[in-house]
Symmetry: C2
């Protein structure tokens, strides 16, 4: 299958009427066929109308039907085969192995949510049986389940053209919750988006679901996204992207007559703390792992380690030297888009103005190479500078040299909210880590020891989230099975006749789900 | 103990420096002693500073210590005895039995949260053990728990001077989550607030907790509340009150450099649907129950049934006649404050301008009597009027006479978000109810059959919440054990050494809490 240059409104493929969008092959700078024309108010309204129509049926689809749908989506994406991988390579400059891995992750994620739907934990069933004899007042029969919020707007991310795009984590978790999805595709990879969108469209038809369960919109500029979030039928928003983009969507969502939740994953510099013993005993090894993590995907990861903090001295100097050496040997990789390439250049220039340059990698070839860059600054400077805390999207990082462990802690306390915080520690560092840990727990959604924040496992215990500005809502995660909770709300049923009770709440537990009965957990 | 007229900043009792606040006895209109002086920026900052200082220790207090603290609070409130009840009677005009009941509810709620803390469901422990042999990539060890958000601002409500005030549901659930609380007391019952505040203060001292776990601020006007929500140390807000008040706090919370969640319970008219067979067979009985619910607490409940919908005809006429008769026999009760009394008068006048008056109760005596009022309007008029959907806080209700069941459904679809929706139905009404139910689930947090929405059970399955504008966040409840979830966020720990893992996540499950292990529930 080759992309045709169309929007997908339910089962229809439609040519837009607004400004043109063309993908650029970032490795060559050449524009790719086909031309996409953006949608406008009509297409936004139509997608939302279809989603609203589909919601009534889809939200009460059986657990099995919904799980099968998610599995069918995964199968249809796999069936796209090499056409998808090649299109994504052309649109992103990412290597084949990475995109094949990401495709596997995307389909695995859909299948994980299928299993989550079937298990039914997300229903959060709670029963408080009637107590007719209770004095002074009898208790009525009360039963709670979770229901889907309504149609969800999902914004594709530039840096994961599959796993955080059209059928990525936000879409998978919203569909799992019973919410129709309207995707605003990222303009950097429209062909990839259309191909994946057609796979989902195909799965909707195969499973006999109402067509409005899924639509894909294209559009350049911010208007179409703002119109989508403002549409009264949309009930929640999933977004991964820049801080300014996320803030704009939050403002639109709050300004609606009925405000809605926005789950925006925005910006994080993912501090890494090098504790003394670890630094002294295996600084060179840590330096190698660090630069590997910085370079992964040309640094275009939300969890890229953009900040390393240690206590100054010979061990930190050796670390910096080793890391600088590794940076100088880091081949430049093609960045995702001309815009990201330009922003990386600006970010590195700003860092260069505030910090000491340690090393740069080779300049690289092609129009959009990411030249790895490592800087250093003193702890006192970091504490007095906002610029040193700004995210630079790409393979750049900053080493903070602190006077002592107290200043390391002060740096931790000075941080904004983060997706991750990493400790490099050995046995002798446990007490230092114990002092830092309460600070890091308040700052980040995930705390790691002796690993690197890049590489986010899709599982049940994952938290890919964190305090503002890492995300707009620290109470949630956008990766892992708990992501489904973002698109649900509780409803309590009081004394409802058995005939009218939803399956999940009927006596005898026909769905076989875990329940909280009178406050006691029944697995 | 008698109230002294002071703010409570941690363990200190402090006299404010701003404008005077005096409670009014609404049954006599007389001002009560003592005079309270409001706090200003200094007191807000001091309370928040203390809360922030207390947070580090309090959030990691053991489950047992925190549960014991909540139980101690309950005991200290009970120890206030009749002094509390009499002060609350004087400040609210509510009868003794109601306040004794509410006191019991408040203490019961604190004890429920003690049991919730001990059970540890709220930790939402999730373990995905390492899979070192997994190909192509091993899985690291990942463990998740929930942690407290941080200091919480709680706004006391006028209509529940105990159960939704200083030590009410918001405070109990925030303290249970591990969050220090700064209360902005409602100016209508400052003495009650101070007495309860001193009971909590006493419990903090008895339990050896950091003093900043709890403070109480007073202040007239909106400034102090806005300053509290804007304070960077506050991380979430609990509010029960008017729509305009809730919206103002939401705007302040969103405008902060770091936006924070606001849980505002604001406005609801709690529609009651009279289905045909129930109406035909027991309309008179329903009318009696309905007027009883309307009059409860002079109608000053968030769940007061302000709207009744039925199909026009002889049965509905008979219901209206019986309800009108009951209204005419409804003795006027004293309203909570002069302001609420005046607003009720305005609301009833507005309804009278848009709808047909069915009956009014006796005018009553004293300065602030609530004269029960019942109106009626046609379904078509309701669908074309915004005024008919406005909440009138007090014992007023509106009967909507629809042409047929389709129009009943149209009325349901036209409703804003609600706390509750009630069905009066008999066996022959089940199909009609089945048609309405999906609409009601989208509109309300709680759906009742053959009961009345007033009377909110404090239990595990309760949802006292609902779509905007009933609340600011439909994903939550402010009554019942799930209310604790509002003040928590997840944190994931990756490969953390055993020594550094929080108790809840340690191998062997030392806390004995329910866990999700590799996606499987272990009770």
């Amino acid at each position: 299958m080759q992309p045709a240059g169309t929007l997908l409104l339910g089962q229809q493929a439609v040519t837009g009427t607004r400004g043109e969008i063309r993908a650029i092959d970032p490795s060559s700078g050449e524009a790719l066929e086909p031309i996409y024309r953006g949608g406008g108010e009509f297409e936004v309204a139509r997608a939302c109308e279809l989603a609203e129509e589909a919601f009534a049926g889809y939200r009460e689809s059986s657990l099995e039907a919904r799980a099968t749908f998610l599995e069918t989506v995964a199968g249809e994406i796999e069936a796209l085969g090499d056409a998808l991988i090649e299109r994504a390579m052309a649109e992103t400059g990412l290597p084949r192995a990475r995109l094949e891995g990401e495709c596997g992750r995307t389909c695995g994620q859909l299948r994980l949510f299928a299993s989550v739907v079937r298990a039914g934990e997300w229903l959060d069933v709670r029963l408080d049986p009637a107590l007719p004899e209770r004095a002074p007042m009898p208790r009525v029969d009360l039963r709670q389940r979770h229901v889907a919020l309504g149609p969800v707007a999902v914004f594709g991310a530039s840096n994961f053209p599959l796993a955080f795009s059209v059928a990525g984590g936000d879409t998978a978790s919203a569909l799992a919750a019973g919410c129709p999805v309207v995707v605003k595709a990222h303009s950097a990879h429209p062909g990839t988006s259309e191909l994946v969108g057609r796979a989902v469209q195909q799965a909707v038809a195969q499973c006999g679901l109402p067509e409005g369960v899924f639509s894909v919109l294209f559009g350049s500029g911010k208007e179409i996204g703002q119109a989508l979030v403002a549409d009264p039928r949309i009930q929640a928003v999933g977004f991964t992207g820049s801080r300014s983009g996320g803030l704009a969507l939050m403002a639109t969502a709050q300004a609606r007559p009925q405000p809605i939740p926005v789950y925006a994953e925005m910006s994080s510099i993912n501090p890494v703390f090098l504790l003394p013993e670890a630094l002294a005993t295996r600084g060179a090894e840590i330096a190698e792992g660090f630069v590997g993590s910085v370079n992964m995907g040309a640094g275009q990861f939300c969890t890229n380690p953009g900040l390393v903090i240690g206590v100054k001295g010979a061990a930190l100097d050796a670390f910096v030297a080793a890391a600088g050496e590794a940076v100088r040997g880091s081949a430049a990789q093609t960045m995702l888009t001309p815009g990201i390439y330009a922003a990386y250049g600006d970010g590195v220039s700003q860092l260069a103005g505030e910090a000491r340059e340690i090393a740069r990698g080779p300049a690289g070839e092609g129009p959009h190479p990411c030249q790895t860059a490592l800087f250093a600054a003193r702890g006192a400077d970091f504490l007095n500078s906002e610029a040193l805390q700004a995210e630079v999207f790409g393979a750049a990082s900053l080493v903070i040299e602190c006077d002592d462990l107290d200043q390391v802690k002060a740096v931790a306390e000075h941080l904004e909210g983060q997706l991750t915080a990493t400790l490099q520690l050995d046995d002798g560092d446990v007490e230092a880590a114990r002092t830092l840990l309460p600070v890091l727990e308040r700052k980040a959604g995930r705390v790691l020891a002796n690993g690197w924040p890049t590489g986010v496992e899709v599982c049940h215990a994952m938290v890919h989230g964190g305090p503002f500005p890492a995300t707009s809502d620290s109470r949630t995660t956008s990766v892992g099975s708990a992501a489904i909770q973002r698109f649900l709300r509780p409803v309590c049923y009081q004394n409802l006749p058995a005939d009218l009770l939803p399956e999940a709440l009927k006596d005898g537990n026909p769905l076989g789900v875990t329940r909280l009965v009178d406050g006691k957990r029944e697995a």
